[in-house]
Amino acid sequence: MTTTAVATTTRKVPRAGVDLLRIVRINEEIKRVVSVSFKINIMALNAIFLAKRAGTAALGFGVLSNELRVFSQDLRNCMESLTDLIHGCVGEVSIVLQDIRFTRLLGEAAQLAPKSAAPVILAQREAENDMHATKLAQLRNQLKRALEDAFQIVELGGVLAKSAKIEAAYGQSFAAPLAQVSGEFDGIVEEIRSSLESLRRSAFFTGH
């Protein structure tokens, strides 16, 4: 193993370790979004009952509450696929971490016994490492795209929450409670948006 290759391996170790830590943080943020989207589902259900009680004055609000329930389910589905991708990333990073250790040890063996089979095995191991690194890069891109999909869904959720606010104003005697509910919807959607923003900014995607 050349000095450069040894140095490259040494550099990869903290990078993979940090990647694992970043993945863990992303996963925690995803769990938070899933929990909040579940809250929207319950709130939307209550909002539907409230709209029913308000009668014709809150027909529009009822339709929007129903749509918010659908939004909450779509968001949870989207987050589930993000979670699957995250688990895939954890698997690949773990393999990369093990690869790094084995490559270092095989590299040292190749240096100590250059005429043995170690350099050949080391080259094979490095080719496999590249394969895992490529797979991790692919998963990273898929995760990025899934995150953008989540953003699209949240954009729709934001529009629904804002429309619900407008509809609440037409709720006559129920205007105040409907305004309160729609305000809570809006707040929660903003909370999700901010979580997704922080995921988007994660150094796991940006690299810095």
């Binding site: 084995f102 040890l105 240096q111 100590l112 043995s116 089979a117 170690a118 095995i121």
Partner: protein, 246 residues
Amino acid sequence: MKITETIFQDGTHKWVAIVRDPDKPNFLVDTNEYLVTHGGQGMLLDPGGAEIFPAVFSALSSEFDPSALAAIFASHQDPDICSSLALWLEFNPKMRCYVSWLWNSFIPHFGGTAETFISIPDEGMDINLAGLTLRTVPAHYLHSSGNFNLYDKVAKILFSGDVGAALLPVEQNGLFVEDFDKHIRHAEGFHRRWMGSNEAKRRWCERVSQLEIDMLCPQHGAIYRGADVQRFISWFDDLQVGIVKG
């Protein structure tokens, strides 16, 4: 890099001790590895931990083609025994690992596939290395609950794993025990603390007393030879084990 020393040779039948790496970091326990070769095939006994793989590999390569290693014998499940397994398998994925049945689903955490492992029953078994019969000798609870030594009747060598091990000071690095009384002081604490059963110890002493042994080769420390072998067995027989001070 570790050094190799041939401790027995008769034609292609060889025992090579792989020992003493001056570059080994002090926080890693020192280990001895042994290579048995016969008829072009090799078996590595307790190949060692992953961190010392480069030193063991390079030393072994100077004596034998690592891809011709047919098998690994793991006396028990500890990381200093066989956490390098996955790295050895890179050189010969068809290599087999003999280990107590107790550990055949634990050691795969170090590497290998279902085909890699051959379970040794509690009573032991014979292993064939290109026509040479090697006998696995039960040494359960000394210290591991599923533990084996390996006996070569032809070479009259017993690989004793942790039995006979000594944690020697750096300056005392001879391959063989030269002064039994001086040496055994470094073995006493280890045996008292690591070995868990006086009954198991008694049985082991009886068992190995029936074998003809010229050399007793532990995984740590120096090799006992000649009269020191019986001296060690008697010393061990008298020792009370399974004791924690304080």
